[in-house]
């Protein structure tokens, strides 16, 4: 991984955006020292040293996977979901991306601002329970804190999950020739949140895709070479990380990338490329070429995967780069510094 410049003296919004700026902060500050601690049974090929979203350790024949996410989304209620559904889905999906579609349990830690409406909290709680049922994933313990009025903007939720898998999937397993599949249309979460935040009028339905993907991912277990969910920084950021860690280039056929008309419209209006925007119910997979069609068929048989598509191919040239084939020519896709807008998840 390239060494990036030391962050400046003050934390910036960009450093929370999931892109290069955030990676620099984490790499320089957290990874440097935490990675020097003995990682007990944890595999140092994943986890803190690899700057992964989760860590894994072998327990008997299985891998125990652990992942954590704090959710600071604004607004907390948005078309297609709320912070409760997001916090369960985000953690379930991070586990699923490592192959752990069987969730052992999750923790739920809520920080509230004094004066937060109990009714809103009840709605959020109901949403979490519904998402838990979809994912067959229980919340097993939690924590509640309250900060004073004006000390926190409403509510933030941390969810941490543990899961088991026989086969650990990583985001660095791509090799030349692998096909890249996206499990559905992209850009919906980020653009739905932005449109809701700014009260923009858009033709057509624009709703977040936020959903727990474990049951869909379980149908393709063992058939993928690498997997990652394109959250903060979107498809572009996720592909860059997969390509960089795997040491391959990726050529994306832009016309094959599923984008809904409402997403395209909102993206054009806001000047934001849907490739750079967070998704919360989509995955990017690498598959061997001979497995691509069968994986596609399995995905499309699941309600969350109906629009799954093969969107690209891994190549040996230009490792770490993403080449966009527009149909008229080829150009390099830039890696975003971070999510274009803060508090998207």
């Amino acid at each position: 991984m390239t060494t990036l410049a030391m962050p400046p003296g003050r934390v910036t919004l960009k450093q929370g955006g999931g892109g290069r700026a955030m990676r620099a902060l984490i790499e320089k500050l957290f990874v440097r020292d935490f990675a020097t601690l003995p990682q007990q049974g944890f595999d140092t090929g994943v986890g803190i040293a690899a700057m992964d979203d989760g860590a894994a350790m072998k327990i008997g024949d299985d891998w125990l996977v652990i992942t954590t996410d704090s959710h600071v989304i604004h607004p907390i209620f948005f078309p297609g979901g709320d912070i409760g559904r997001l916090s369960i889905s985000g953690t379930v999906n991070d586990l699923a991306m490592m192959g752990a579609t069987r969730v052992l349990g999750m923790t739920c830690s809520v920080i509230l601002e004094e004066g937060f409406a109990i009714e809103s909290l009840e709605t959020i709680q109901q949403s979490m329970v519904a998402a838990c049922r979809e994912a067959n994933a229980p919340v097993v313990t939690g924590d509640t804190k309250v900060m004073g009025r004006g000390e926190l903007d409403g509510i933030v939720i941390n969810t941490t999950g543990i899961g088991l898998t026989r086969t650990l999937v990583r985001d660095n397993g791509l090799s030349a020739g692998d096909r890249i599949i996206v499990t559905g249309s992209i850009g919906e979460h980020g653009l739905a949140v932005m449109v809701a935040r700014h009260g923009i009028e858009i033709e057509g339905d624009l709703v977040s895709d936020v959903a727990p993907m474990s049951s869909m991912i379980a149908t393709i277990a063992g058939h993928v070479t690498a997997m990652k969910d394109p959250t903060r920084g979107g498809v572009s950021s996720a592909l860059h990380e997969m390509a960089s860690k795997s040491g391959v280039g990726i050529v994306i056929d832009e016309r094959a990338v599923p984008v809904l008309p409402a997403v395209r419209a909102a993206g054009e209006l806001l000047g934001i490329d849907p490739l750079h925007v967070a998704n919360e119910g989509k995955a990017l997979l690498g598959v061997r070429p001979d497995a691509a069609e069968s994986v596609l068929t399995r995905l499309r048989a699941h309600p969350l995967g109906r629009r799954a598509a093969i969107i690209g191919t891994c190549v040996a040239e230009r490792p770490g780069s993403i080449v966009l084939d527009t149909g008229f020519g080829r150009r390099l896709l830039a890696e975003p510094e971070g999510e274009p807008l803060p508090r998207i998840c």
Copy 2:
């Protein structure tokens, strides 16, 4: 557990204080629904349904324990520690209280306010690493989010930990005749933070006791009937919960409870009973009478346990009540509604 009145329409500071008010909120809102989810392999005798600080499931011959805490302390730097040391110690201690003195790994999720000083973040990070070394506990993965200026008061940190233990310790295992031991002098964390927050001048040293207790607790493994760390709500809140869950009364010899002169002075000045104030490096244990002296000897041999003392006895009468024997007479110790001041941990 007695059913408490439904919380009012808005979240109050008291509901974050760790006492009756918080329990009512959690019980009515979170436990009600999360506990209806299939808890997979998790033991329903601990965890969400029992409103415990952690949950446990059997894996082979061992118990896998998981616990979570978000830390919102103010000020973030205080005499004896900072939010970094607190966040590692808090989670290590919650695991240790369930017998899991062997920490497999921890997650660290940081939420920062835009403009937060990188230098402060580095100090906090160094503190976390030092506490990890003391506890022999690695951070294995993490998450970073940034909120806008004015949307969060500086920094909050969630730490979630998993640990293994052959013998699960609960907070409900007391029976009549058991002795109650406290592992050291009480009230230091809460009063040190309050004094720092309000810039009060006190004679003598008043520093937080914040420390990871796993190495001390490991020396008494297998010799306790129940264990709990008296954090928010202090010794009083913890004893009430242990007594109530175990179905015993507890008689405390007030003169035997170790309280440092500076704590006594600060408590009197602020009108706060040290029995009601958070500790972050102390444990309350139940032990069979014939094991009490040997447990005390082991504790005192550890640097964190030098002031350990036998402070009370469990009785069959008045289950759920704490009787304070002052030497002049006996009175019931009231269960605090919550920590007297917010953001103590």
